[in-house]
Amino acid sequence: MNAALQGSLLAPFAGALLVLLVPEKLKARITLVVSLVTAGLALGVVREVMRDGVVHERAGGWGAPLGIDLAADGLSAIHLLMTAVVGLLLSLYAFYYFRSYDDGRKARARSLFWPFWLMLWGSMHALFLSGDLFNLYVVLELIGLAAIGLVILTGSREVLGAGMRYLMVAMAGSMSYLLGVVLLYGMYGTLDLGSLNALAEANPLTRAACVVMTVGLLMKTAVFPLHFWLPPAHASATAPVSALLSALVVKGSFYILLRLWFGVFADVVTPAMGWLLGAMGAGAILWGSYQALRQARLKMLIAHSTVAQLGYLMFLFPIVAGAMDAGGAYQLEAAKGTVYHVLSHALAKASLFLSAGLVMTAAGSDRLRDMRGLAERLPLTIFTMALAGVSLMGLPPSGGFIAKWLIAHAVLGSGQWWWIVFVVGGGLLTAGYMFLMLRSAFLERQDGDPDLPGRVSPAMEYAALALALAGVLIGIRAAGLLDIMMIGNPFGFTGGGL
């Protein structure tokens, strides 16, 4: 019995039902209160993990294999922390953002944003606390449907098209994952992750499960070349939703991938499979950055940047599958760097998308050339975007720097030096499109330019700024966060000499 853990599952879902049912004028305020409670309970779980180590809870009181075991280790704690920070600031931003959505279709979007968002938040908690393969499937469906509901909020033709494509990919990915769950259950007779880690052997069936589950999860994570659904969905949604999708949702399926490759499939993965994923990551960095450099619209640029940044998460796999050194020192380093990248990208990207929402409000459009003169009009927002850019590029002392430095070091140490080309090259490409993004904001306004009509709320600017600052701060306080991440030894090796 763990009160914080139970509460962190119940509070966001109960809040979602509450805001679904209460009158319109209370919804936003109740969401803010529920967000505070939810984030507080998540921090409570994190604190218990820091104090007592891995926290366990048996759903139904039965225990595996009959029941479903819930657990929070360091990896769960880091993800809960990330969700709490992003979630809280996002709720604050949305509180002001949706004020202008007050008639007809837009009022419907605002009314249902709150319950969809809290359902998504609860689903993220369920994900990070789950210790059961089938339960993870149910959670994937929850996250997928909540995310699609958020994408299609405004109901325009554009978002419906993007949402439909997203739905198809999400379904295909879930089915592929479920097929693997069935295979593993048929072979080992349990769905409990902990038991499976101990039971799994290298045999054709486990390998087949590994392939179908990995492919399904990569589709949901939008890893090149399975990323095609992401830019339209992330760019056409409202600004707070884009932030949620890029910062949190795609990281959910990646989290499961991490758990599986370091658990059930640890003995099954082959160097070839790792290489393939590494190559996909390299392709993502090149293709996503190239596309980002070509975009004329701010949100499409940021969405393609997400495609590129997700590529960095893939270099972990060739290092893990390569197993070139004893003790797993470089594997561990790569895993730390990769999770750090998840974290810093979540903060930076959420900040960028929220800033894009402010730019669209102020400039009335998200075309890059309409941003002329914004540096004068919205100095704080433009500063925020630059700060988020620092973390995405991987400049010290940001979180992105720690992530990329750890990944680069692991890549070199494990003897697979060629990936460094993409790690460093990706940073340069990021600098390129970040410069393009900000360039027009610093240009003088010209006579023909339309007026900058909109006013933005300072609270929204501060929320975006806080996220960007957090993205830099986690670089300065990295040691503490890395220590939390390692509680319960989630990656299965001790790290040898490092």
Binding site: L21, G61, L112, P115, L145, I148, G149, M187, G189
Partner: protein, 233 residues
């Protein structure tokens, strides 16, 4: 273009066949006598509060999954509500009655369907049945009434509709909150109360499943109508 489409179909077919062969090979490697969890389930049945293993797994042993699955249903229904002007179905225009015999038949069928639904809900304790079957029967008859042009009771598709959608998901949560409050693990029913709690949750879930089904069919049907009508203003 046509050639390209054909090539994609041929390659696609080859890929699917190869994938199927590969998966069949993998499945053939599966143990012939699966251990599974049948034995474990049988051993725990006396504490489950019900006598049918499927109900025990769905509502007790893996009740946590079922709770979240009801959340999935709620999200689907919320997706439908997004295209209604309010969180209900009051904007849905009833179909014009077109066949008096069918309308009459639906009216006669209605009480029996409710009875069957209640029976299915109750029998889940002992035999195949339970909330999902009961909810589908109930939802179907509501849809049948609507299709034959009968106006559904205003409070049911109005003020009470959103609470009906939510009550299944909420009932699990209320039980979990109370159990947590008295210091039990998450959704861990006391064995002596398990049967009653399961019946409570299943009754609520039946209502939500029926309402969700009605929302998915009736609520989206109006969308199609609006789309057809929109060119004429």
């Amino acid at each position: 273009m046509k050639g390209a489409g054909k090539a994609i179909r041929v390659y696609g077919l080859c890929a699917v066949v190869l994938l199927a062969i590969w998966l069949v090979r993998a499945v053939l490697a599966m143990p012939v006598e699966p251990g599974g969890l049948t034995g474990v389930v049988d051993a725990a049945m006396p504490q489950s509060g019900v006598k049918h293993p499927v109900t025990a797994v769905l509502l007790n042993f893996r009740g946590y999954d079922t709770w979240l699955e009801l959340g999935v249903l709620l999200l689907a229904a919320m997706g439908v509500l997004l295209f209604q002007p309010r969180n209900d179905l009051t904007a849905v225009r009833p179909l014009p009655p077109f066949d008096p015999v069918l309308t009459r038949a639906a009216v006669i069928l209605f009480p029996f369907a409710v009875l069957v639904s209640g029976y299915l809900l109750w029998v889940g304790k002992y035999a195949p049945g339970g909330a999902f079957q009961a909810g589908v029967v109930l939802g179907s008859v509501v849809i049948l009434l609507w299709l034959t042009g009968i106006r559904l009771p205003a409070p049911l598709i109005g003020r009470w509709f959103a609470p009906l959608l939510a009550v299944g998901f909420a009932s699990f949560m209320a039980v979990a909150a109370v159990l947590g409050f008295i210091g039990r693990e998450f959704l861990a029913y006391p064995p002596e109360q398990a049967g009653n709690l399961i019946l409570l949750i299943e009754s609520c879930a039946t209502l939500s499943i029926a309402a969700t089904m009605a929302a998915l069919i009736v609520g989206l049907r109006t969308q199609a109508q609006h789309a057809e009508e929109s060119p004429h203003g």
